[in-house]
Structure formats: structure tokens, C-alpha cells
């Protein structure tokens, strides 16, 4: 094809496409459909013969677009590049749109023009259409058979023409060549040069084939032209990204190079592009390396993958949660360690109590008393002075007057460290909560998850047999979960059965609540009894230190055994209830366990803060904070020990028992709810204890690490994946929320209460001599104001902003209002999205309706007035 022709076409299109766009293109065919074919001819007469043939040939391809629509935007590195490419491809693009436009735009005129139809030419177009593209067209659009004119209209719909781009054209071309090639397959291929393939196509016997081949040749010509117009780098890039077979690409390249007549310096292309690609590859490698490094930084990555693959996301969420807790504790430990423990350890306080190290068979490790009582572990050890390096200052409280040397105001630091640690933890918690809320309750109900899983989850890189197996297991577990979620349907029961179930549920709840209340009362009275016991013995210095220490363990053991036994009872009750959805079962179980733990913790807090702290003298305690810290340490440790026992008896022995004695094939299922609640319970203890025992997070870290490996081993040995798979997409959110709301908030309230209202011990700890711990901050502000007159407003500001609860209430209120507004906005967006989706569906229906109408009208008109000679092939393919 010659260039001038194309250019004239281009001009032609330029005018047309500006005139006719959008709705006009659709309305026109609706007004007058039948003689679209004739229009073509009329239009073609305006042009040179060759080009008219070509445009007729391209038109069926447009129809084919209906079935194979690539609305892709080419990927180029810069917009500038893209412009260039668009220009160079505009020929093809414009030509294609041109064909469409004249098909439609001329429709009104064709009434007069019809008689002049060049039957033969039209026939050939129809032939080809029906022969090569017919089957594909009919495949599309719900298997209905559409007439060619309807298809033309269809293909010219704006939605199908908007995204026309280089990629679309190339892929059309590719599609055509593929078709032709398929046909050729039956013949021996003599494909050394494109033209040499001609005989084999002729051999196929249909003139349409040769037409099709010419068509292909034209396309190829155009492609070559377009490629030639590109810069060398772009050409290589386009060539590489073409979905053609290598041999065809090579041919194209040859043609392009021949045409260019070596005008482009060949040596420069590979060198430059090679360098560029080396750089790109290196960058990508770097990026991938960095990514894999980052992911390897994540703790327990492979272990988590294994667990996820074998037991599903439900169990995985437990371990992920455990890891999250570990990070929280590491953070706490770092903060308290760096700001409190290390300075105190370095400073060597002179108030070294002559500690009587009584060895009680290592029982101190359990009780945290004895040797540990006067160590960095507890509040009582920290001094209330300025810790100083360098020059010493005489005035202990006048830190600012010490200009030389580094002074370290321990009470202040203690106060602010704890406060800041809690504050930052709170922010992290809220942030991760909102993030996981965002992930699990997406505004846009992310559709296509299943398909994405099916089509893009297999990693083609994996070549190791074991990894392949793991991947397979992983994918099938996830698919099962997804399907279970999608397929979740409420089973309908008859009324009687529903009543019965309701009764059972009520009974179960009564039993659980009753046992919880009983447990709480038991803890309350037992702790009271032990407290009274302690009071009695405080009066008379008792004889056996070993027994005394062991007594201290009574309450923790008591509480922990309840914590171990009651969840088992809850499980039995839940088993009686027979929930059919595992997630509902989990939620119910979580709420029961939560109730138990929260109420037990509430009683314990009352015990410590109400009984012990209010009257430490009568207990003979010099330092009640240290005592509470010890208690918390004991509880934490007991909790751990009972978790070990629970894992051993509850999981291992139960497995052995059920397999040996009950002859059951199945292993028990991992109880996510109970385990998670145990974690939350432990974490609450740790948070409560930070104030009284700054090193408690370290204990918790050790505990969590142990727990991870123990649970992993136990899981592999004793448990099996849940019989009913379910997706835990919202599970992590629930866990974090629980961690935030009752656990962290409760701990924070307790700690704040302690700081604000309870009088610290007068003879130990950093806050001795103060009325409340809170006053450390206040005093510092006053000192600041006294030293620096410019800051005289500080104490008043402090008094109004911090001490006055009104400000706190107001800020909390504003915070809540902001949250409320945000949630409302999100809600609104969700509604809008729903509406829009509905609208899209409706529009689709409209479109289908219009198309069928169109087809009906067309059929009717054609049936009434057969205006032209039909080709036999058209009849055969559309009847």
C-alpha cells in the first residue's frame, strides 16, 4: 500500500472523527440500520481502489474486536515516548476508527445510495466475515447469532472504541495471523519468507482466504511502516512486547531494517539498548533483592508459611498475632530498658539495701521474691534522685542548677517513660487496628479474589518438589476457605428444631455465665482469704520462709488453673451446641473466654489496687509497688506454666487418648479462641506490670518466643486442620480490636488510676515523698517555671490542661466525633459504590435489550424487503 493513500485517509478520518462521536455513533444505526453494507461502498468510491478494498477488509476485523477486545494501554516509560508512539500508530488507529465512522455515519445517506451497491465487492466482504469471523462472533454475546450489521454497530460502540490503541491493533493482527497459521498447519509449511506461504493459503481453496491473506499482508505492511517510524529504542521495545511468535518478529524486524536501508546505525542500537537493559535488569535485581531481604527480616517467615499452608489462615492468624504481641513487647522493653533500667544500673544507687539472699530452692524464680525483690526488676529499686555523671550536685531536686555534668531526673523519667510508652503503644494499636479494619472490611468488596487466586497464585519459579507440594496445599486450603466463605448459606430448620436450638443456646450461655460468675466469686474470696492470711502473718513473723514463699503462689496457681479449666468447659458446652459455622463457633468461644478473663482481671486489679495499695503498712510492706510487681510476675509465669501444661495435657495427651482409646482417626482441632485469649490475658498482665516492674516486658518476650516454638511443634504433632475451612480475614482485626479495647484500655486505665490517685510508698521507689506519682510531672513544671521566669505559664497550663478532666473529656469527645464522621463517610462511599455497581448492571441490561431490539428490527426489515442478493455463505452461517 502506498503512503499517499494512507495520508489521504488520515485526513479524511480527521474530519469525520471530530464530527461524529459519542452518542451520535450509536443513535445513527438505530435510526436506520439495514443498508450499512451499501454505505461502505459509497464511501469507498471516494477513495482509490486499493484503499477501498483494504478498508472493506479491515471492517470484519472490527467486528472481530467484539470478541477479542484488548483495551490495553501500551506501557511506555514516559509520556513523551507515548506521544511518539501514538503518532506513529495513528495511521492504524485512525484507519480503524475511520472504517467504523463511515459505516455508521453514512447510514442516513444510504437510502439513495443503496441501488448503486457494488454487489460483488460487498459480497466479498460478507463472505469473509461470515467465513473467518463468523464462528467467533457467534461465540460471543451469549451464544446468540447476530447479523453482521448488528455486529458492526456493536463494534462501534464507544466502550469498544475508546481504548483502541497500539496493543489492540497488534493483537488483532496477531490474532489474524494466528488464525491463518492454524489453517496452514494442515499444509506443509514453506515459511522462509512471508510471501512463500502464499501457495499454501491458495491451496486452501477459498477466495476469501486469499483475501484474508492480502489482508494480513496489508497489516504487516502497516506494522512495518509503523515500526519504521519509531526510534530504534522504541522499536526494539515494541517488537519485544509484541505477542507474536519469534519467527514473525524476526521477519518484521528484517523488513523494517531492509526498509530503513540501514539508515539507522545498527551498531548503536544493541549497544545502547543493551546497556539500558543491563541497568534495568540490575535495578530490578536490586529491587527484588531488597524485597526479599525485607521479607527475610520478618520474623518466622518460613515457619508462618508452613503453618499457613497446612492449617489455613485461621491458625495462621494466631501465630501472626503472637508475633505482633512480641513486637509490642520488644518496643516496651527497649523503651523501659534504655530509659530506665540502663541508667539505673549504671548509676549504682548508694541506698544499697543489705539484701539477705535467702536461697529457697530456686523458688524465687517462680515467686519473683527473695533475691529478686531488690533488683532492677521492680519499682522499689529505682531511686528518686538525680542520677548524675560527671560533676556531682549537692541539691538533689534542683537539677537545672547543675550546669555541669549530665543529670538524669529519675522520677520524671520514670513517669514520662511509662506515659510515653503507653501513649505510643496506644497509637500503634489504633493504627494497626484501623489498618486491619481497612483490609478486612474493604469499602469495595474486592471482587475477583477467587479468580485471582486460581490464575495468579501459582508460582512458576518453584521447581523443588517439596515446595511444590507446600504450594499446592496452600492454594487448595485457601481456595477451600474462599469457597466456604462464598458458599456460606443459612440452613433452614423447622420451627421446633429452631426452638430447641434456641433453648440449647440459652442453656449454654447460662452455664457459661454461671461458671464465669462462680469463678470470679471464687477468685474474689480466695484472694481475700489469702490477703487476710497475709495480714495475720504480717503481725507475727512466721517461721518457715519456704512455706511463706509458696503461699505467695497460691493465688496465681488458683487463677491460672481456672483459666485452664474453664475454657475446656466452654468448649464442651459449645460442642453440645453444635454450631455449623466454624467462625461463629470461634466468635462465641472468644466472647465467653473474654468475659472470663476480663472479669478475673478486674477482680485482681481490685485486689491489688484496692486492698494492697490502700493499706500497705498493715501488710508489713515497705514497698507495695514492688509487691504488686512481684504478684504480676508470678501471674505471668504461672500463666506460662499452665499454658505449657495445657499444651501438654490438653493437646498432646488428648490426642494420644482420642487416637488410642477412642480409636478416632482425627486429631483434635487447634483451639484458636482459647489460645488467643490466653495471649491477650498475658499481654494485659504485662502492660499492667510495666509500671511496677519495668523489666516485665522482657519476661513476656521470653515467654512469647518459647510459646511460639512450643505451639508450632504441638500444632504439627497434635492438631490437624479444621474440618470446615474458613477464612480468617476478619480474625486478625478482631484480635487486634480485643487487644486494644478491653486489654490495653483496661491496663491503661489501671495504670493511670495508680499514677493519679494512689499514694506511692514513702520509703522506696522513684516517687517516694510525693502524694501521687503524677506530682513528679507537676513539680518539674513548677521547678522549670521557678528557674526560668519566661515559663511561668507552664504550671497553670499544666493545671488546666492535664489536671482538669474537662480538657481530657473534650479532647476525647472531639476524637470520637472525628472517628464517627470518618465512619459515616466510609459508609456513604460504600453505599455509593453499591449504587454505581447496580447502575452498571442496569446499563448492561439496557445494552443487551437495545442490541436485541436492533437485531429484531434488522431481521424484520430484511425479511420484508430483501434488497440485495445474499451470499450463500452468509445464509449458512447465520441461519
Amino acid at each position: 500500500m502506498s503512503c499517499p493513500v494512507i495520508q489521504s485517509e488520515q485526513k479524511f478520518v480527521g474530519e469525520r472523527s471530530t464530527e461524529f462521536s459519542g452518542l451520535d455513533t450509536i443513535r445513527a444505526p438505530l435510526a436506520d440500520i439495514p443498508s450499512v453494507g451499501g454505505v461502505l461502498q459509497q464511501d469507498d468510491e471516494d477513495r482509490a481502489g486499493v484503499s477501498s478494498r483494504a478498508s472493506v477488509r479491515t471492517e470484519p476485523i472490527m467486528a472481530q474486536r467484539v470478541s477479542f477486545d484488548f483495551d490495553q494501554v501500551p506501557e511506555f516509560e514516559s509520556p513523551v515516548d507515548e506521544d511518539g508512539v501514538h503518532d506513529s500508530f495513528s495511521q492504524l488507529i485512525q484507519e480503524q476508527s475511520h472504517d467504523l465512522h463511515d459505516v455508521i455515519e453514512m447510514t442516513p445517506l444510504d437510502l439513495e445510495e443503496e441501488s448503486r451497491d457494488d454487489v460483488e465487492c460487498e459480497e466479498s466482504a460478507v463472505y469473509q466475515r461470515s467465513d473467518s469471523d463468523g464462528p467467533q462472533q457467534t461465540d460471543h454475546l451469549i451464544g446468540e447469532r447476530w447479523s453482521s450489521d448488528t455486529l458492526k454497530v456493536l463494534s462501534s460502540m464507544p466502550s469498544r472504541t475508546i481504548g483502541r490503541s497500539r496493543g489492540a491493533i497488534i493483537s488483532q493482527y496477531c490474532n489474524r495471523t494466528m488464525q491463518l497459521r492454524r489453517r496452514r498447519q494442515s499444509r506443509p509449511s514453506i515459511q522462509h519468507f512471508p510471501r512463500s506461504a502464499r501457495p499454501s493459503i491458495r491451496g486452501y481453496g477459498m477466495e476469501t482466504d486469499s483475501a484474508g491473506f492480502e489482508e494480513e499482508e496489508n497489516k504487516r505492511e502497516r506494522l512495518v511502516n509503523n515500526l519504521q517510524n519509531l526510534s530504534a529504542g522504541d522499536r526494539v521495545r515494541v517488537l519485544r512486547a509484541m505477542p507474536l511468535s519469534l519467527s514473525e518478529k524476526k521477519e518484521l524486524r528484517m523488513l523494517v531494517l531492509n526498509k530503513a536501508e540501514h539508515s539507522v546505525s545498527q551498531s548503536q542500537i544493541p549497544c545502547c539498548s543493551q546497556l539500558k537493559y543491563y541497568i534495568i535488569i540490575a535495578l530490578r535485581h536490586g529491587w527484588y533483592g531488597w524485597l526479599s531481604f525485607l521479607s527475610s527480616l520478618q520474623l518466622w517467615q518460613t515457619a508462618l508459611k508452613c503453618v499457613g499452608g497446612r492449617f489455613g489462615t485461621g491458625v495462621l492468624s494466631y501465630f501472626v498475632f503472637l508475633r505482633t504481641l512480641l513486637f509490642f513487647n520488644v518496643f516496651l522493653f527497649l523503651v523501659t530498658g534504655v530509659l530506665l533500667v540502663v541508667p539505673q544500673a549504671i548509676a549504682h544507687p548508694d541506698h544499697d539495701q543489705n539484701v539477705t539472699v535467702r536461697s529457697t530452692w530456686g523458688l524465687e524464680v517462680l515467686t519473683g521474691a527473695g533475691y529478686f525483690s531488690h533488683s532492677l526488676l521492680y519499682y522499689g529499686y529505682y531511686s528518686n534522685r538525680m542520677l548524675q555523671t560527671g560533676h556531682s550536685c549537692s541539691a538533689p531536686r534542683n537539677g537545672t542548677s547543675c550546669s555541669s555534668g549530665l543529670s538524669y531526673n529519675m522520677p520524671l523519667v520514670y513517669f514520662f517513660t511509662i506515659g510515653a510508652a503507653f501513649f505510643i503503644t496506644c497509637i500503634i494499636l489504633v493504627y494497626s487496628m484501623s489498618k486491619s479494619f481497612g483490609q478486612s472490611f474493604r469499602i469495595d468488596k474486592s471482587k475477583g479474589l477467587l479468580t485471582i487466586k486460581v490464575f495468579s497464585s501459582w508460582d512458576f519459579k518453584v521447581i523443588k518438589k517439596s515446595s511444590v507440594k507446600l504450594q499446592r496445599a496452600n492454594i487448595s486450603t485457601q481456595l477451600k476457605e474462599l469457597v466456604a466463605e462464598v458458599n456460606h448459606q443459612e440452613l433452614k430448620f423447622p420451627v421446633l428444631q429452631r426452638l430447641f436450638r434456641l433453648f440449647i443456646h440459652t442453656l449454654a450461655w447460662i452455664m457459661c455465665l454461671g461458671s464465669t460468675i462462680a469463678c470470679v466469686l471464687a477468685v474474689y474470696y480466695f484472694s481475700e482469704h489469702m490477703h487476710g492470711d497475709l495480714l495475720k502473718r504480717a503481725g507475727s513473723r512466721s517461721s518457715d520462709p519456704l512455706l511463706e514463699e509458696a503461699r505467695l503462689l497460691a493465688v496465681p496457681v488458683f487463677v491460672s488453673s481456672f483459666n485452664l479449666l474453664l475454657p475446656g468447659f466452654f468448649n464442651a458446652v459449645a460442642w453440645m451446641e453444635e454450631y455449623d459455622s466454624p467462625s461463629v463457633l470461634n466468635y462465641v468461644s472468644i466472647s465467653r473466654n473474654l468475659l472470663l478473663k476480663v472479669s478475673v482481671l478486674g477482680v485482681l486489679c481490685y485486689h491489688w489496687l484496692g486492698r494492697v495499695a490502700s493499706d500497705p503498712q498493715s501488710l508489713g510492706l515497705e514497698c507495695w509497688e514492688s509487691f504488686v510487681g512481684q504478684e504480676l510476675y508470678r501471674f505471668l509465669l504461672m500463666d506460662f506454666i499452665f499454658m505449657l501444661l495445657g499444651t501438654f495435657f490438653g493437646e498432646f495427651l488428648w490426642r494420644v487418648f482420642s487416637q488410642k482409646a477412642l480409636k478416632r482417626k482425627r486429631k483434635p482441632v487447634f483451639d484458636i479462641a482459647r489460645n488467643v485469649l490466653e495471649l491477650i490475658y498475658g499481654q494485659t498482665l504485662a502492660w499492667l506490670g510495666v509500671l511496677f516492674s519495668p523489666l516485665l516486658p522482657a519476661v513476656q518476650i521470653i515467654k512469647l518466643i518459647f510459646l511460639f516454638y512450643m505451639k508450632k511443634v504441638s500444632l504439627k504433632m497434635n492438631c490437624q486442620a479444621s474440618g470446615k475451612p474458613w477464612r480468617a480475614c476478619q480474625m486478625t482485626t478482631i484480635f487486634i480490636t480485643l487487644l486494644c479495647f478491653p486489654a490495653f484500655l483496661g491496663a491503661a486505665v489501671c495504670v493511670t488510676y495508680t499514677m493519679w490517685t494512689i499514694k506511692p510508698s514513702s520509703r522506696c521507689g522513684p516517687f517516694q515523698g510525693l502524694k501521687t506519682m503524677f506530682q513528679a510531672g507537676k513539680r518539674w513544671f513548677q521547678e522549670l517555671a521557678a528557674v526560668n521566669p519566661d515559663l511561668h505559664w507552664l504550671p497553670t497550663a499544666h493545671a488546666y490542661l492535664v489536671e482538669n478532666p474537662l480538657f481530657l473529656f473534650m479532647s476525647a469527645g472531639i476524637f470520637l466525633i472525628v472517628i464517627y464522621f470518618h465512619s459515616q463517610v466510609v459508609d456513604g462511599q460504600r453505599k455509593i459504590i453499591e449504587l454505581l455497581q447496580e447502575q452498571i448492571e442496569n446499563e448492561g441490561e439496557d445494552k443487551k435489550f437495545l442490541i436485541t431490539r436492533l437485531q429484531d428490527i434488522h431481521e424484520g426489515k430484511r425479511g420484508a424487503t430483501p434488497r440485495r442478493v445474499k451470499g450463500p455463505s452468509e445464509d449458512s452461517s447465520y441461519s
Binding site: F70, E75, I142, A241, P243, S247, P270, G448, F455, K465
Partner: protein, 187 residues
């Protein structure tokens, strides 16, 4: 580079380099791999473009493909005759598309071909079923497989014809974040 002259001409290597995502060195290495597959079949001298094809059975045994559940489909989609016999060009083409440099569209086109078992330009239920059976290998019950197929098509089918056209497929792939990294074979 003594090898280079004997296997390919400079011109050929340039062509390969321009048309694929491989460098000269990699092309030579690929030729080595190709030669290994069938030493008696594949000549060391490719300067005159010999018409040699290695059958599917041999290619599928490459360690890179051996464990892949879609190995046969991959090879078939890249073979010119659709039977799985790969000429060296097809062989290079295959690994070029599967290399990390290939753009998403190109990968998507071939991924579509691979999953389109019956080569009708649509991924229909049967194709999906085959895909699933290969993916999970009897870990899903037949009912589950049918269910997954139905749901998956329901999800991704935009035009309501109960099968996935390429447009549907591409739309879906464009939302799959790790497609680029998973549809990739290192050679």
C-alpha cells in the same frame, strides 16, 4: 566468544536480542540448554536456520518445567503447531515471555493461552476445571471444584457470557498484585 561464530551469526544474535528479552550471552546459554535436551537432534550450528523441532516430551523434562502443573500447556501454547514441538525460536520465545523483563500485557496474553486448554479463545468452565485440578491435584473434592469454577466465572465475567474472554482475564490480572512475579521462570 569463540562459540558465537560457530552457533549463530552476528546478525542472528542481533535479531534475537532485538526480538526477545535476552542478551547474546543468554541466547547462547539457551541454545546450550536446547541442545542438551536432544543432542542428536539439535545441531550446534544454527547459522543456516535449520528446521529442527524438539518434541514436547523432552522439553517438559527440563527441571524448570518438570514440577509445573501447567508444563504441557506452556509448551503447547508456545509451539507453532500447537502440538508442543518447539523450534529453537519457540523455545527462546517461551522463556522470553516468562522472563522477568516481559511486560504485564505480554505475560497476560500468554497466560490466557496457557489456561485456555481447548484453544477457543475463551476460558470456559472446562478450562477452569482443568486448571484447578492441576493446581490442587485432588485436594479439592469434585463438588468443590465445580463450585470454585462457578464462583470464579461469576466473579470475573464482566459481560455475562459465562466464560472468560481475554478482556475479562486481563481485567482480573490487572488487579492481581503478584501476577508479574509468579508468572516468571528463571532459566
Amino acid at each position: 566468544m569463540g562459540n558465537k561464530q560457530t552457533i549463530f551469526t552476528d546478525e542472528q544474535l542481533d535479531a534475537y536480542q532485538d526480538c526477545t528479552f535476552f542478551t547474546r550471552k543468554e541466547i547462547l546459554r539457551l541454545h546450550g540448554r536446547y541442545h542438551e535436551l536432544a543432542p542428536h537432534l539439535v545441531p550446534m550450528d544454527y547459522t543456516n536456520d535449520p528446521d529442527v523441532k524438539v518434541p514436547l516430551a523432552l522439553i517438559v523434562n527440563m527441571p524448570e518445567l518438570k514440577e509445573n502443573p501447567f508444563r504441557n500447556r506452556i509448551v503447547e501454547s508456545f509451539s507453532e503447531d500447537g502440538q508442543g514441538n518447539l523450534s529453537f525460536n519457540d523455545f527462546v520465545d517461551m522463556f522470553s515471555v516468562l522472563s522477568e523483563m516481559a511486560p504485564r500485557e505480554l505475560k497476560a496474553i500468554y497466560a490466557f493461552k496457557i489456561y485456555d486448554f481447548n484453544v477457543d479463545n475463551y476460558i470456559c468452565k472446562e478450562d477452569l476445571e482443568k486448571t484447578l485440578n492441576r493446581l490442587t491435584k485432588e485436594e479439592l473434592t469434585p463438588e468443590e471444584v465445580v463450585l470454585v469454577c462457578e464462583k470464579a466465572i461469576e466473579e470475573a465475567d464482566l459481560d455475562g457470557d459465562n466464560k472468560l474472554s481475554f478482556a475479562d482475564f486481563e481485567n482480573m490480572i490487572s488487579r492481581a498484585p503478584d501476577f508479574l512475579s509468579t508468572f516468571h521462570i528463571r532459566i
